[in-house]
Amino acid sequence: MYLEVKDIDFSFKDETILKEASFSMKKGEIVALLGPSGSGKSTFLRVLTGLAHISRGQLFIHDEEITKLPPEKRHIGMVFQDYALFPHMSVKQNIMFGIEHLKKDDRYLQLHKMLKLTNLTDKCHKYPHQLSGGEAQRVALARSLAASPDLLLLDEPFSNLDTELKAGIRLELKEILSSLDTTCLFVTHDIEDARAIADSVYTIENYKIKKIENANM
């Protein structure tokens, strides 16, 4: 298994969310975590990134334990619900933010690859407040993908978008993810989103993460 979550416990604001829960993903798989808002899905993503701590259990990526690593050492990317684009940086600076350790040539190569992939080349020098909602989301995606994360997490990726745009953007996202063979876990409250993109769908039930078998029907 690529991602392994073993027997974890955690709670948020004194409320238990998971108890002895386990979960796993294959490389390149796209998984949706479905559930109503407030069910703890987003907190689960934060646990995987290391932004929230678990009281028990272990996390592995590629058989390497990451339970105690701080967020910046986990190689897990995340697109936040509000995108969290740095308002004082241009699109280009935002995308290059996570790859400053690369050599200059590689950095620019990666930047252009991402711009092309997300169709943002002409927005390169714009600032976040000059972008539309869909564009901002693509920048956030490009920024996370540029760092070639081992796992990409998306927090409610479509909640800030107009309904008319949604269908197109879902397809786009699916294409981008597949083209890079990215392993991706995203949370949503909308079963349509889950069906459209995910290879499999999970939900949180009785403090465990359970697969919904017939989600794709």
Partner: protein, 537 residues
């Protein structure tokens, strides 16, 4: 290995600060262990009740006056449109540039027999004198010079409340007084209380005003016990009583504020109502009174006497004093902000109860009166110097007191004293931008320090500049710490003013006072007239 998870640059800096604060505090409590001295018994019998009573009323009156000045001002400039509204929007902050003790010298002089007010009164046949040098007068002076704290916090909270609430209340045919009682006051209460708390702590910390006016409150009593009765132990016990007093106030504030940060983001541009003619008269009076007495009159007084006395007071030394004041203040303020940034970051992300308590404790520094802090810091440094002698000898320094009475010691005291102020300002800015930008940076593989420099600091810029100015002005004005801890013959504007004043040369103190006030005015003008770059839609 949970420990390693908790150890990083933010927590390490915070822990170091915590340990330093703790050591300084412990020296205070060590003073309690000894037998009660005669002086302490004497104080308890004859004076303590008065100290508590006077402190209570001084705080009460000051809190009331400053709340009224600050709140009414903030309310008017937020919700109404009238000529000079924008001017009042920043001018109302100006009294912050006038140290309370300077205002006290000025009004004490103006209302004395030879002062202009008494002469004017005599001119129209009124012989009786108005006694400003009283508890009531002192609280008025504190309120006039400190109300901008209330004005600023309340205004920023009112700014966050949308017009819609008030419009819908009015559509529901709720009376004006009910809107005030049921909506405006409850919604602004946390900000009002926070602003008033700052005023109260500054009031309790003051030594200049209460000494000059002979108002017997705690800070006065601590000096009195220590110096007049010659009993450090009694002074330390009094400090302990005072800290309990302060602690109760701080806890009350925290309870009042708990979970009560309400604001609704403004939907659209605020439409300000015009004031009726009658209301205009009231409005200008409500804004004009504190501005007039808190700023304009003091500045006119200082300018007039600076002109009369400059031949005696304008010299090269004044230039050195200015350079001293500005450089030590800039350095101390920058370090304070830097540490506050680290502590605020720990506060944002830690889930550890220990760390939360630790931060609560660190930020108590603001509550220790300057005089007490000065004694504790100086004892701490002398102890440290004596321990470091072998190290000094290693470097060929044939002196014991190397750090004692150095600029490092003074800066250290400033940092301890003003860390809370910086921390509160930074924390509130962090709350405005939320945690996700910082978290995004972490998930992009950037470490804590890198994130701090390239994400947090640029995003916090406006808040940091504001915090810088607030702390800077306070450092420049600071008196008891500077007086006691400064290096040999290292004068700042504040100590210069104090020296002239304590030699009964109030008029000669005008020029350095005017300089001191100007520094504050320039800073306030700059932050209120900075063009804010709007990057958020």
């Amino acid at each position: 290995m949970r420990l390693r998870q908790h150890l990083h640059s933010f927590s390490i800096v915070s822990i170091i600060v915590f340990v330093l604060v703790l050591v300084v505090f412990l020296q205070l409590f060590a003073g309690f262990t000894g037998e009660a001295s005669d002086a302490w018994i004497h104080i308890k019998e004859y004076l303590l009740f008065d100290y508590i009573k006077n402190s209570f009323f001084l705080v009460l009156f000051t809190a009331l006056f400053s709340a009224v000045f600050g709140f009414v001002g903030a309310y008017l400039v937020t919700f109404y449109e009238f000529p000079f509204r924008k001017f009042f929007g920043w001018a109302m902050i100006l009294p912050l540039a006038v140290p309370s003790y300077i205002a006290a010298y000025i009004y004490g002089d103006m209302f004395s027999y030879t002062g202009i007010v008494s002469r004017l009164l005599r001119g129209i046949g009124i012989v009786s004198q108005i006694d400003v040098m009283s508890l009531f007068g002192a609280s008025m002076i504190f309120a006039l010079t400190l109300y901008p704290y209330v004005f600023m916090t309340v205004r920023s909270s009112l700014n966050k409340q949308s017009n819609e609430i008030y419009e819908s209340a009015r559509l529901l045919k709720v009376s004006k007084s009910k809107i005030w009682r049921k909506i405006l006051l409850p919604l602004s209460r946390p900000a009002l209380v926070a602003g008033v708390l700052l005023v109260v702590l500054e009031t309790l910390n003051d030594y200049g005003v209460v000494k000059y006016f002979n108002v017997r409150v705690f800070s006065f009593a601590i000096f009195d016990a220590w110096f007049r009765l010659g009993d450090v132990g009694a002074a330390i016990r009094l400090s302990g009583v005072m800290l309990i007093f302060v602690f109760v106030i701080v806890v009350i504030e925290r309870v009042l504020r708990r979970n009560k940060v309400y604001y609704t983001l403004q939907g659209r541009k605020r439409l300000r109502k015009a004031l009726s003619t009658k209301a205009k008269v009231f409005g200008y009076m409500a804004l004009g009174f504190p501005l007039m007495f808190g700023f304009i009159i003091p500045v006119i007084y200082l300018s007039y006497y600076s002109l009369l006395t400059y031949s005696k007071t304008l010299d090269m030394e004044l230039l050195y004093v200015t350079v001293n004041t500005l450089s030590i203040s800039v350095v101390a303020t920058l370090i304070t902000l830097f540490i506050a940034l680290f502590v605020a970051n720990l506060d944002r992300f830690t889930t550890s109860k220990f760390f939360k308590r630790m931060i609560n404790f660190i930020t108590l520094g603001y509550a220790i009166p300057g005089a007490v802090l000065a004694v504790l810091v100086s004892l701490f440094f002398i102890g440290m110097d004596r321990d470091l002698v072998p190290l000094y000898q290693l470097f060929g320094v044939d002196k014991t007191l190397v750090l004692t009475r150095s600029l490092a010691m003074l800066s250290f005291a400033y940092i301890l004293r003003f860390l809370t102020l910086a921390f509160n300002n930074i924390e509130s800015t962090y709350q405005k931008i939320g945690p996700s930008y910082t978290e995004a940076s972490y998930t992009l593989g950037q470490g804590k320090l890198k994130t701090l420099w390239s994400v947090d600091v640029p995003m916090l810029k406006d808040g940091l500049i504001f915090a810088f100015v607030i702390v800077f002005i306070d450092v420049v004005k600071e008196l008891p710490l500077t007086l006691i801890l400064r290096p040999t013959n290292y004068d700042t504007m504040a100590t210069k003013v104090y020296q002239y004043a304590s030699d009964e040369m109030i008029h000669e103190a005008s020029l350095p006072s005017l300089l001191l006030v100007s520094v504050g005015v320039i800073m306030i003008y700059l932050i209120t007239h900075r063009k804010l770059k709007k990057r958020v839609k």
